[in-house]
Amino acid sequence: MIDVQKVSKTYGKIKALSRVSFKIKDGEFVCLVGPSGAGKTTLIRLLIAEEKPTFGRIVVSDRDIHLLPRREIPYYRRKIGIVFQDYKLLLKKNIYENTAYALEVSGARSDLIKKRVPKILEMVGLSKRAQNYPDELSGGEKQRAALARALVHSPKILIADEPTGNLDPKTSWGIIDLLLRINDHGTTVILATHNKDIVNMLRKRVLGIKNGELVIDRLRGEYTI
C-alpha cells in the first residue's frame, strides 16, 4: 500500500506540490493526470525516493521511504519498476542486457536471469529484438524494452511516467494493454499521463493534479482537468 500524507515540495520559491494526500491499495490501477508542469513528475520523483518532500510523509509497505538510510534506497528501488517517457535505456547494452541489468544489480543468480529474461521479452513481444541495441528500435519497441526491464524483477509497484508520450495512438494502446495485463497479475500500476483518450477509455481510478494540488480523486474517473 502507498500512503501519501500531506506532501508538499518546494524548489526555492516555486511550489511544485502542496499538501497532497491519497492512498493506493495493493493491486490498484491508478491514472495520475494533469497538464504539463502540474506536479506529476515531482510526485513520481518523490515516490521513487529520488527526492525528499519538503513536508509530509510517503509510506510504502508500512515504511516511510524518506526516512530510509541512503544505502537502503537502492533496495527500495528494486521493489518498484519505473518506466519513463524517454525510455532511459542503457545505449551501450542490447535489449537482452538492458533487461538483465535490473536483475544483475540485485545479485540474482545467472541461471535465474537466463530463464527470466527471455520470458519477459516474449511477454512484451521483443524476443526477436533481444540482440539489438536501443538505437536500432522504434519508439514503441523501446518503450516495451523499458517495460521489460521494469518488470523483470517482478516488482510490487510499477510507475509509468508518460510512457506513451512519444508514441502514436496504436502503439500507445499496445503499451497500455501491457500495463493492464501486468495489473491483472497483481502489480500496482501508477500511470502518469496527459492523454485524455486513454484515461477516458480506461475508466480506472483517476488522481488529478493541477498547480501542485490534488483536485480530483475518482474511482472510475475521466480526464476532466
Partner: protein, 303 residues
C-alpha cells in the same frame, strides 16, 4: 561473489565498448608512467655521475725517495685536520706496487715493478669533501715548506680540476631541475588523467542515473569504473615499460661514453630490476586510476 564477477565483467565491457576513449586514456596513462619512470632513471644516472665524480675528486701527492717518513706523516696529519679533506691515506712503496699489479697493464709492463726493484714513489691519497675544496687542498700541499719532500709535478690535481668542477655543477643542476620537472610533470599528468576519467564518466552520466533508478548500489555502479581504471593502469604499464626499454637501449651507449669505464649499465640494470620496475609502475597506475575514478564518479552517486 556473483556481483563481484559482474562488476569486473561490466568494467571490461565499458573498456571495449568505448574503444577510442579507452585508447586515448590508456595513452595518456602510459605517458604519465613513462615520464615518472624516465625521471627515475635520469636521477639514477645523475646519482651515479656524482659518485663517479666523487671518486675522481682526489689529489695524489707523491714523495721524493729521500723524504723522511716523519715529514710525510707530518703533512698527512696536518691535511687530516683540514675541513676540506674527507680522508687521507698513506700509500707505501709496497702498496703502490700492489696497485700497479692490479692495473690493466700487460705482463711485460707489470714486470717492470718487482719487490726487489720498485721505482714507484710513496704517496698520499687525499679525498676532498667536494670539488670546491680541491683548491684549498691544492694550495696547502703546494706551500713552499712541503716542496723539499714532494716530487717535481708530484701533485696531481691541477689537470682534472676544471673538468670536475664543471661536471659536478652540471650534475647538481640536472638533479635539482630533474626533481622540479618531475614534480611539475607528475602534477600535470595527474590532472590530465583526472580530467580524462572525469570526461569519461560525465559522458556516462545518463547511464549512471539509469543504474541508480533500477536499484544499483553505489559500489555496483562505481565498481566497473574502478575495474576500468585498473585496466588502464595495467595496459599503460606495459606500454610505458616497452618505451623505457627502447629509450634505455638507445641511450646506454651514450651514457657509457659520458661516464667512462665506471659507468652503470642501465640496460642491465633495467633487465635485472624489470619485475620491480613493472610492479612499481603498475602500483602507481592503479593508485592514480582508482583514486581519480572514484573521485569523479562520486559526484554522480548522490541518492
Amino acid at each position: 561473489m556473483t556481483s563481484l564477477l559482474r562488476v569486473i565483467k561490466f568494467g571490461f565491457l565499458n573498456f571495449f565498448r568505448n574503444p577510442w576513449l579507452s585508447l586515448a586514456t590508456t595513452l595518456i596513462f602510459s605517458l604519465t608512467l613513462f615520464i615518472i619512470s624516465s625521471f627515475f632513471f635520469l636521477n639514477l644516472v645523475a646519482d651515479r655521475s656524482v659518485k663517479v665524480i666523487e671518486d675522481k675528486m682526489d689529489i695524489s701527492v707523491t714523495f721524493k725517495d729521500e723524504a723522511s717518513l716523519e715529514d710525510i706523516y707530518n703533512l698527512k696529519d696536518q691535511l687530516g685536520q683540514l675541513s676540506a679533506v674527507k680522508s687521507v691515506k698513506y700509500i707505501s712503496k709496497e702498496e703502490a706496487s700492489e696497485i700497479w699489479q692490479d692495473l690493466p697493464f700487460s705482463q711485460r709492463v707489470k714486470e717492470l715493478v718487482t719487490p726487489e726493484k720498485n721505482p714507484l714513489p710513496r704517496g698520499l691519497q687525499i679525498k676532498a669533501e667536494d670539488p670546491d675544496s680541491l683548491d684549498e687542498i691544492g694550495e696547502f700541499v703546494l706551500m713552499k715548506k712541503w716542496q723539499p719532500i714532494i716530487r717535481e709535478n708530484g701533485v696531481s690535481y691541477q689537470k682534472n680540476k676544471t673538468i670536475l668542477q664543471k661536471l659536478n655543477n652540471i650534475t647538481k643542476f640536472v638533479r635539482k631541475i630533474g626533481f622540479l620537472l618531475a614534480g611539475i610533470f607528475l602534477g600535470i599528468s595527474i590532472l590530465v588523467i583526472f580530467n580524462t576519467l572525469r570526461l569519461n564518466i560525465i559522458s556516462r552520466k545518463d547511464e549512471i542515473e539509469i543504474q541508480r533508478l533500477v536499484g544499483a548500489t553505489n559500489s555496483f555502479i562505481s565498481g566497473p569504473f574502478l575495474v576500468e581504471g585498473i585496466l588502464y593502469g595495467f595496459l599503460a604499464t606495459i606500454i610505458s615499460t616497452l618505451l623505457i626499454y627502447f629509450l634505455i637501449r638507445f641511450t646506454t651507449p651514450m651514457i657509457a661514453q659520458y661516464l667512462g669505464d665506471v659507468s652503470l649499465n642501465l640496460h642491465q640494470y633495467f633487465i635485472y630490476h624489470l619485475d620491480l620496475i613493472f610492479i612499481l609502475q603498475f602500483a602507481i597506475g592503479i593508485f592514480i586510476g582508482s583514486i581519480c575514478s572514484l573521485i569523479s564518479v562520486k559526484k554522480y552517486l548522490k541518492v
